[in-house]
């Protein structure tokens, strides 16, 4: 039996490296009808901001080859409702939670982190993912994760608000010239880990109506079609860590994972944990299926520990 456990920092040993991806799993109750969310290494919740937010108008999605575009616009209940309702529910079913937080300013991120820390179910939290890379915001294209200084400022402010034993993960966008520069800035500012990658900015034209298909015009591209981009980004950043250009921190891999084989690809490139996102829309129990398939693959390849497979492709 393969030892699947993984330590992503803060002394929270997760039983396995499988997670949901933010924005692809809501806040737990919906998928709990299909599998026990406590069976995951961690449950990653939808990015939450300070106030309730309606998100954008519709249409909000467009299907693409092996993927989709979404233009949700960070719809959510706001951090107060999240800590009053969603987080306690996740705790009640025994889930380990990696909340994803967002903001339109660095102070909003800090406020959301502080509210989270002060909440009664905070002991279910095993880390915080900082979404600095959502493409569906008003100044899209100018997301924090496109600028090393802006990224560093957000991460430093969030890091200040949270206890040392809660690792902070910066979620990065692949839509940058050099992702290692952003990764370096985040780690230098106090990020304990990186989540890669968020969606790519894309667009679809409805050729029946001859107009943009999405109500929000542009959207985030996700699904198996973007997996090679995720593998590339993880590889580049992990390579920079090997070369000493970035301190070595855990990378959570996300982007187009649909099967155990896909997960193993991201792991071999350097990911210490795996999130399953858009595949959930196709198969609601995909996260636990991918975990099972990954475990069988590692076993078949003779790995005794999951961690032995992390970044293994770099030496070959």
């Amino acid at each position: 039996m393969v030892d699947l456990s993984v330590d992503l920092g803060g002394g929270h040993r997760l039983p396995n490296p499988l997670m949901t991806a933010s924005g692809c799993a809501a806040n737990g109750r919906e998928l709990h009808r299909f599998f026990d969310v406590a069976d995951l290494g961690a449950f990653v919740t939808k990015s939450v901001m300070a106030d309730p937010r309606s998100g954008r108008g519709t249409p909000r999605m467009a299907e693409t080859p092996s993927g989709m575009l979404n233009s949700i616009g960070l719809q959510g209940p706001g951090i107060e409702a999240f800590v009053d309702e969603d987080l306690p529910w996740l705790k009640s079913v025994g889930a380990r939670v990696l909340p994803s937080i967002a903001g339109s300013s660095s102070t909003e991120y800090a406020h959301v982190a502080a509210t989270l820390r002060a909440s009664r179910a905070f002991d279910a939290v095993v880390g915080v993912e900082v979404n600095i890379s959502c493409p569906n915001v008003a100044n899209r294209g100018l997301v924090f994760a496109c600028d090393p200084m802006a990224s560093a400022k957000v991460i430093a402010l969030v890091r200040e608000q949270l206890p040392r034993d809660i690792p902070v993960f910066a979620k990065l966008s692949p839509d940058v010239t050099d992702i290692t520069a952003i990764a370096a800035a985040c780690v230098k500012a106090g990020a304990d880990g990186l989540t890669m990658i968020n969606t790519l900015l894309g667009m679809v034209i409805d050729t029946d109506r001859m107009r943009p298909q999405l109500g929000g015009v542009t959207g985030g591209l996700s699904g198996p079609g973007i997996r090679p981009v995720a593998v590339r980004a993880i590889w580049q950043v992990r390579q920079a860590m090997f070369e000493g250009r970035i301190p070595t921190v855990p990378i959570i891999g996300v982007g187009g994972v649909r099967t155990g084989r896909d997960a193993l690809e991201l792991v071999a490139a350097g990911a210490s944990a795996i999130q399953v996102g858009t595949a959930v829309f196709n198969d609601p129990s995909a996260p636990v299926r991918v975990l099972r398939e990954l475990c069988e693959l590692l076993d078949a390849k003779g790995f005794e520990r999951f961690t032995d497979a992390v970044a293994v492709a770099h030496g070959r």
């Binding site: 709990h32 999605m61 109506r209 829309f281």
Partner: protein, 296 residues
């Protein structure tokens, strides 16, 4: 949304197609899906995966349930009616008997049924009528007088006229081009039928514009409209947030709610019809968390 609704039982099963036949412009499929058949209520829907485990068409296609037979010869079956309009629906209508399709369901809220035996009018646009015959049966079992109005652009796009005559106390057919029944829209004969039957509830299923007019007519006649919407969905299970629409809650405030879990059936007078325009639904300015200046 109630906790009970979210924890409602749902299954995912690999369903065998046991029958498939052409009905006018549509394809009628019968699937062996005992788990869904056991749990489903009229108004709920199923979400079908397209093209197998490695398919590049990732998003599920949702269909309202036409009929269930929990204890059929082949085990419980679920019937759906499909209009082939794109790659996903084309793949589904091309399935032959003994092929399999991955099915998730039953999903969404069912049509609420009246506690008293009031008269009801059921209105279906095109193949939107699919779930109404099952509903008609349940209503008549409760002693309700049930009339149906079926409308479509043309005769071949009507669904279930014969079945309607069998399952209802009265049937009216309309077509845009006059190729069957009376020429015009379902909203033309509706006021007279509500008035004649004294209907307390109007159930509707079909395109948004039709549901809006049903709601308007029902309101004018003092009846409650219960409408099942057809929003495009990526997942059907409540996690993707793409199928939202503006709906007024019991607190009087408008929210962008998911039609897959809080619908697909809504009380017509709760839907913000003013926000729908040409395939778009905008966020009303007074909605909870609506964008401030500068947008989202």
């Amino acid at each position: 949304m109630s906790e009970r609704q979210l924890r409602a039982r749902v299954t995912q099963e690999v369903a065998e197609v046991i029958a498939t036949r052409r009905v006018g412009a549509y394809q009628h499929l019968t699937l062996v899906a005992p788990g869904v058949a056991e749990l489903a209520r009229p108004g709920q829907f199923v979400a079908l995966a397209v093209g197998g485990e490695t398919s590049g068409t990732l998003l599920r296609r949702s269909f309202s349930i036409h009929k269930v037979s929990p204890s059929g010869t082949y085990g419980g079956t679920v019937e759906i009616v499909v209009s082939a309009v794109g790659t996903g629906t084309r793949w589904i209508v091309e399935r032959a008997p003994h092929d399999t399709i991955d099915v998730v369901g039953p999903l969404g809220k069912a049509f609420p049924l009246p506690t008293d035996p009031v008269a009801c009018v059921l209105v279906g646009g095109g193949y939107g009528s699919a779930p109404l015959f099952w509903l008609a049966g349940e209503l008549r079992e409760r002693g309700c007088h049930v009339e149906m109005v079926l409308g479509a652009a043309s005769e071949d796009r009507l669904f279930g006229v014969v079945e309607a005559r069998r399952s209802c106390d009265g049937v009216t057919v309309t077509t845009d081009d006059g190729s069957a029944g009376q020429k015009g829209w379902v909203s033309d004969p509706l006021p007279g039928i509500i008035e004649r039957t004294g209907a307390g509830v109007v159930y509707g299923c079909g395109p948004m514009g039709m549901l809006e007019s049903i709601t308007r007519v029902a309101q004018a006649q003092g009846a409650v409209a219960q409408v099942a919407v057809e929003e495009s969905m990526a997942c059907g299970v409540g996690v993707c947030m793409t199928c939202v629409m503006p709906v007024v809650g019991s607190d009087g405030r408008t929210r962008m709610v998911r039609s897959c879990v809080e619908g697909p059936v809504f009380r017509g007078d709760r839907v913000r019809w003013d926000a729908f325009d040409g395939g778009h639904a905008r966020v009303p300015d007074d909605a909870v968390g609506a964008p401030k200046v500068g947008g989202h």
